[in-house]
């Protein structure tokens, strides 16, 4: 199939879904067997309502539906009125996601490398890691909120908690599977133990770390939203909880769409970086 055909299909499907979403429920009274209850705008809102809600939540239009002027300061007034408007919420969630991702991947990599290269450490710590990894991360979220408060710290810790194990296991596996001949070659070329670690074990393990970065960034976002659900003053997760409390489906949907866009952008950036760093590998085609 040509790229154009594929694109046309994709646009057609997206439009089809949007049409059903927007007008589908109006058929409910006449054809109740065809239209599920779930299409009720009370639950899932409608594309037009979501768009309107987006313009409000982002301070682009005022209550009467008139576009806010940048020049006369109406936009900034609107921004100042709510401390968790769409922009602030997105920024906070994004910031905490990146922080959790950075802390989680770094610590996961160091732990994985240390244990992967030391049979003694592995033997000692294995039961602890298995036990810790078996705890559903969600179960710990309330404790983390209690311990770290409603601010950013608790969100970063929840994100760290979901990311660190993922990266740890990948790195551990990678550190175990370093090619012995590569190590021998380095040693015979005059490398000291430290040089072998730096020039063979770390770069070879990095390949495994990179492979876990794309899921890691998605996991970090999940961790942050989870933390915001349990207890937060700001952030997109907080927006969803507030909209739910007010019974505003459109408000929740706006937040969900923003999360989707943020997720896609983050994953794309990470994949780009990953492909660049792994450019020495034979190309693997067709990854999603």
């Amino acid at each position: 199939m040509s790229r154009l055909t594929i694109l046309l299909w994709q646009v057609a499907i997206a439009l089809g879904l949007a049409v059903v979403w927007e007008w589908g429920y109006s058929l409910h009274d006449r054809l109740p067997w065809l239209v599920p209850e779930l299409l009720d705008p009370y639950f899932v809102s409608k594309p037009s309502a979501i768009y309107d809600q987006f313009l409000h939540a982002s301070c682009l239009v005022d209550k009467r539906g008139i576009w806010n002027d940048w020049g006369n300061g109406q936009f900034s007034k609107c921004m100042a009125r709510s401390e968790n408007n769409l922009w602030v919420a997105t920024l906070i969630t994004l910031k905490n996601t990146l922080a959790g991702f950075a802390v989680g991947t770094t610590s996961g990599f160091i732990l994985g490398l240390a244990l992967g290269r030391s049979d003694r450490l592995t033997a000692i710590f294995q039961p602890f890691i298995v036990a810790a990894n078996s705890i559903p991360r969600i179960a710990l979220a309330p404790i983390i909120i209690l311990a770290f408060g409603l601010g950013d710290a608790s969100k970063i810790v929840t994100a760290w908690l979901v990311v660190v194990f993922l990266v740890f296991f990948n790195t551990f596996e990678g550190a175990r599977s370093v090619d012995r001949d590569h190590i021998s070659a380095a040693r015979l070329l005059g490398a000291s133990e430290w040089q072998i670690t730096r020039t063979v074990i770390v770069p070879s393990t990095m390949a495994w770390l990179f492979a876990s970065l794309t899921p890691a960034i998605s996991f970090a976002l999940i961790g942050v939203i989870l933390g915001e659900f349990i207890g937060a003053q700001q952030g997109i997760g907080r927006m969803i909880i507030e909209a739910e409390a007010r019974g505003e489906a459109a408000g929740m949907m706006v937040a969900v769409f923003v999360l989707m866009i943020v997720g896609v952008i983050l994953a794309t950036i990470v994949r780009r970086v990953q492909n660049h760093l792994l450019r020495w590998r034979p190309q693997s085609a067709g990854n999603l």
Binding site: D181, S184, L188, L189, G190, A191, T199, W280, R281
Partner: protein, 262 residues
């Protein structure tokens, strides 16, 4: 002449599934300065094991190994000894030139000098213009040439080579022989070259040590006195080559048969 590599009554026993298996037995050999010696034998005769013990990659079970008259230290391999693997062991995350310059980097050679010496090595191996490539995008022959240069760049006086061209096709192999002979004519390293390919051994070496089937013992030695510099292709057309080939081939053939028996 000075003896650079020496083994005395060298032996190796592997334990496989709880049973001891003698792989190498009573091997005593001495290789003189600047000599090119081929260690020839059927597969599984322990020739790579002997080489790997000399290279400190494997501990020996019995006997002694001396490099320049000194017993080898497994924790600190001698900087005078270079090793070329059977498998391609280039670091895939480094470009070809970063691979070749690796040992210089370890030794703390300044970037400018490193670049210069790497460029010279690239040219010697016929890899000009491929310095920025990653190993995965090169052919097997090019990769093995790069691997050879990675070892040679620090100018080791002793070279241990473990069937380095074993995985290459005939044409590429001859090309590699030419590259290696060129370098060796100039630098005259002391070489111990493991192979199961008699033609290769005759093309390259001054002396062939023939090993028996397992357990590996020295069966016979042959002096290869073809004039140098040699041409890898035309050498094979000479009557002297054919005569020596059939003499060794007969002896080697007996070991192939023994090695194939269960």
């Amino acid at each position: 002449m000075t003896i650079r590599i020496e083994t005395r009554d060298l032996g190796k026993t592997f334990v496989v599934d709880g049973r001891a298996m003698r792989a190498v037995d009573g091997v005593s050999l001495a290789i003189r300065e600047g000599e090119f010696v081929a260690l020839l034998g059927p597969s599984g005769c322990g020739k790579s094991t002997i080489l790997n013990m000399i290279a400190t990659l494997l501990p020996n079970s019995s006997g002694d190994i001396l490099i320049d008259g000194q017993p080898i230290d497994r924790r600190r391999p001698s900087r005078n000894v270079g090793y070329v693997f059977q498998r391609d062991t280039l670091f895939p995350w480094r470009t070809v030139q970063a691979n070749i310059g690796y040992a210089l980097e370890l030794a703390g050679v300044a970037a400018g000098e490193r670049r210069e010496r790497t460029q010279t090595a690239l040219a010697q191996a016929g890899l000009q213009g491929f310095g920025h490539y990653y190993p995965t995008s090169l052919s097997g022959g090019m990769r093995q040439r790069a691997a050879l240069m990675r070892t040679l760049i620090v100018q080791p006086q002793i070279l241990l080579m473990d069937e380095p061209f074993g995985a290459l096709d005939t044409h590429t192999k001859l090309e590699m022989h030419r590259v290696l002979l060129n370098i060796w004519e100039r630098e005259k390293q002391t070489v111990l070259f493991v192979t199961h390919d008699l033609g290769e051994a005759l093309t390259l070496s001054d002396r062939i040590i023939l090993l028996s089937a397992r357990p590996g013992r020295i069966k016979e030695e042959f002096t290869v006195d073809f004039p140098r510099p040699r041409d890898a292709v035309t050498l094979r057309e000479t009557p002297a080559y054919a005569a020596l080939f059939s003499r060794i081939w007969h002896s080697l053939g007996e070991e192939f048969v023994k090695g194939a028996q269960p």
